[in-house]
Amino acid sequence: MTTYSPFIAANRFGLGIQPGEHTSIAKDPKGWLSAQVALASRVPPRYAQLANSAQLIEMADADYRQRISFQQDGEVTDAEQLQINAAQRLATNLMRNHANQRLAVAIESDTPFAERLVRFWSNHFSVTLGNNKPTTIYAGLAYENETIRANMNRRFEDMLLSVARHPVMLTYLDNTVSLGPTSVLGRQRRRGLNENLAREMLELHSVGVDGGYKQADVISLARMLTGWGVNLPTNTEARPDLQTPAGSFYYNARAHEPGTQQFLGKSYVDNGQQQAVAAIRDLANHPSTAVFIARKLVRHFIADQAPESAVIRLAQVFRDSRGDLTSLHKALVDLDEAWDPRLQKLKTAEDFVVSTVRALPGMALTDEILRMLNDTLGSFNQTPFMAPSPAGWPEQAEHWGGPDALLKRVEFINMVTSAVGRDVDARDIVNLILPADPTLQSAIRRAESKTQALTLLLASPQFQWRA
């Protein structure tokens, strides 16, 4: 007999409970989660005014070209330096604004399970943006909205394809510099394949490293993906396709490796960019993909050591629904394991910060506070779109709960409570935000001050876990 705890609903599957929502969640914890699934592709109002990725890539590309041209024609003049600085200020503000909005969306969300799902997939298709790929540095949030959020109520194959075609991913995993070795451009420039995107699509995005592919499959997929790039100008030429916006997807037939390819036991005829599209759709529906995705969902939401029964059940839903994400997400909260109080997950740094603010009623999300919270994420090494590798942020408690990280969490709470500790009474919220044991209850009662009581609550081991 499964008991549906509001704490598990809000903390394990959401972004932390807001004291005021406890009563309504407690009426039907599972129903509260299920109802959010269909709303996952809604665009939060805070994102309504954001530019799209093509615009942001075009802007970053222009900034980069300007900087390089100033530096290459000899000395950078004072006037040029002023222009560079102005562009940099604009860019810094823009990126800070994106980071602030993304954090605020999580803190304010009234569909926190939907938001967690978006972040799960965004991390599954992780991109790390840095100055070595200057054209995409502004476009992380736009990438997330265009590939992940937009496909939340469609099929996995739609999301996989959308990610693989997205200029940010194509740039991040070097497909933009990959040329078919015997394509027109490959022969002209004597350059060839880059396997990076193809390898990660197999290893990280779909079938997984043990999913039954070989090096030859990596090469075949890389060949099929040649020509998939971004519509941007070069040093000597205007952007290749003047009909579509700069910074958007561009298929360059002259870079495409000709010929039929064998991929995972099937043959794909060369019909230009449709060759890889067909392969990606099959890859998304490969039996290994169902299991790989199922295990990752269970490991993310339920336990680091994913219970096999839950994995099998979800994989079956994946196969039966042909990767329908709405069905899959609903099935996740239908699992008995989802509600097992013995299973535990440690909060990631980001979710720890977000749940802290959600627990504090009436904390105003000014730009200044959001910026401070973002700096905190930086000090925890979890700046959005800066994951350490294409595998994204790790899952295990060992990663998030290292001694030093733990001490930093305590220090962060200390900083927060020294600001708001006098305004919030821990005794009022403790029983609304987590299942507090008697030790914690009594520690809060006996605290020397309201500030200390709040510190003990939010820095407690229980608040670090998602129970």
């Binding site: 390898r199 680091d304 060992e398 001490l407 220090e411 200390n414 081991p461």
Partner: protein, 394 residues
């Protein structure tokens, strides 16, 4: 497989491994006498994440096939830091070159972990677990090592504890502090809440202990990034009662695109590594004399330059050893390990440097002869799948 076939294969394998064992030497000049092992000996492990290109770091310029594979990646001959008439250090390694002259550098070429596929994540998993294949819930070999030899204390320097140190033995971790200090009374009360949490409790305690050591040692350091971790490694290893093993991680070695020959992305990483090791020597002072630094990476990179002036995931590569603790092994060739050659037919799967040594064997040698770990436990607990052969010096 019939019984007969099994026994024939086993016999053949036995004869092969016996031959290997007969040919294999331990590290030249290495003695098993306990005189070389002191309770004060220190170990620093530096993990290079992303797969360092061993052929660019320690260049086999005497191999005639090298140029046919990767001419674009080889710095000018006169700039190479030649170690003998076959191998040279990349010009960026000026500090390591000095260490080599002092007998404080060991280079092993054509070495690899037990991993033979080409995924970074699995490769690092195997590098750090010391097992044959990647397992999602593996423990780290260094954690298992300190579990069986529990007078050793290890510390991870960085934002989180890497797999190599994960497991049942308790280890410390430290990263540069950035947030404000806490009230001692609140801390004491929090500690009692954490006492009942078997996972988080010991970890919070480790952090508080570590903070006490570092705050005593580095009040004036303003170093950042990897340099800050190197400085901390120096402080920890020389602190009385501090850890005698530290682990550091350095990433950014995955050079698929424009990796650079004389200059560029990879040479800049070489300079960073080179100056970090020199800086560690300075930071350690006299402790350097009983320290060995092991620098390792998940696998090597392809012998041929790829279509984008970089290299892709390969197999064998280079491991560096550094430290005053190496002088006790006596004189030895600048580069250890049999050279498999770079001719087409010598390459693994037609693209990679063939491994001639197993990284676990090298590490086991260091753990045994430098840190005094029990050889049998190293074989049974720390590196259970380690090949039976010894280290092959040449």
């Amino acid at each position: 497989m019939t019984h007969q076939q099994t026994s024939r294969i086993n016999r053949r394998q036995f004869i092969q491994s016996a031959a290997v064992m007969a040919a294999a030497s331990t590290l030249p000049g290495l003695s098993w006498a306990n005189s070389a092992i002191s309770g004060n000996n220190k170990l620093a492990v530096i993990i290079l994440r992303g797969a360092m290109d061993g052929l660019a770091a320690v260049i086999p310029y005497g191999d005639a096939a090298l140029r046919t594979h990767r001419a674009a990646l080889i710095p000018a001959d006169e700039t190479l830091l030649k170690l003998d008439n076959f191998f040279a250090l990349h010009p960026a390694f000026t500090g390591l070159f000095q260490l080599q002259k002092a007998g404080e550098l060991g280079i092993v070429h054509a070495i690899a972990s037990g991993y033979r596929e080409r995924s970074h994540f699995d490769g690092q998993n195997v590098l750090e677990s010391g097992l044959e294949t990647a397992l999602p819930n593996a423990t780290g070999w260094l954690n298992r090592a300190i579990q069986v030899q529990n007078q050793q204390q290890a510390m991870a320097l960085g934002q989180s504890v890497p797999l190599i140190l994960r497991g049942q033995a308790s280890v410390g971790s430290w990263a540069p502090p950035v947030l404000p200090a806490l009230n001692e009374d609140t801390l004491t009360r929090l500690q009692s809440l954490y006492n009942t949490d078997s996972f988080l409790g010991p970890r919070l305690q480790e952090a508080l202990d570590a903070r006490a050591i570092v705050s005593a040692g580095m009040t004036n350091s303003r170093a950042r990034g990897f340099t800050a971790l190197i400085d901390a490694a120096g402080n920890f290893l020389k602190a009385p009662g501090g850890p005698n093993i530290v682990v550091l991680e350095n990433d950014g070695w995955d050079t698929h695109v424009n990796q650079g020959g004389a200059q560029g992305t990879l040479p800049r990483k070489f300079t960073e590594l080179d100056s970090s090791i020199t800086r560690l020597k300075t930071a350690l002072g006299t402790t350097w004399q009983n320290t060995v630094v092991v620098v390792m990476t998940e696998f090597g990179r392809t012998v041929r330059v790829n279509g984008t002036q970089g290299t892709d995931h390969g197999t064998a590569g280079v491991a560096f050893l550094a430290g005053g603790g190496l002088t006790k092994y006596g004189s030895r060739p600048a580069v250890l390990g049999p050279w498999p050659g770079l001719s087409e037919s010598s390459l693994r799967e037609g693209r990679d440097l063939q491994p001639t040594n197993d990284l676990r064997i090298l590490i086991a040698e260091i753990l045994q002869s430098h840190m005094g770990f029990n050889g049998q436990l190293l074989r049974s607990v720390v590196f259970p799948g380690m090949p039976m052969s010894g280290f092959r010096a040449s």
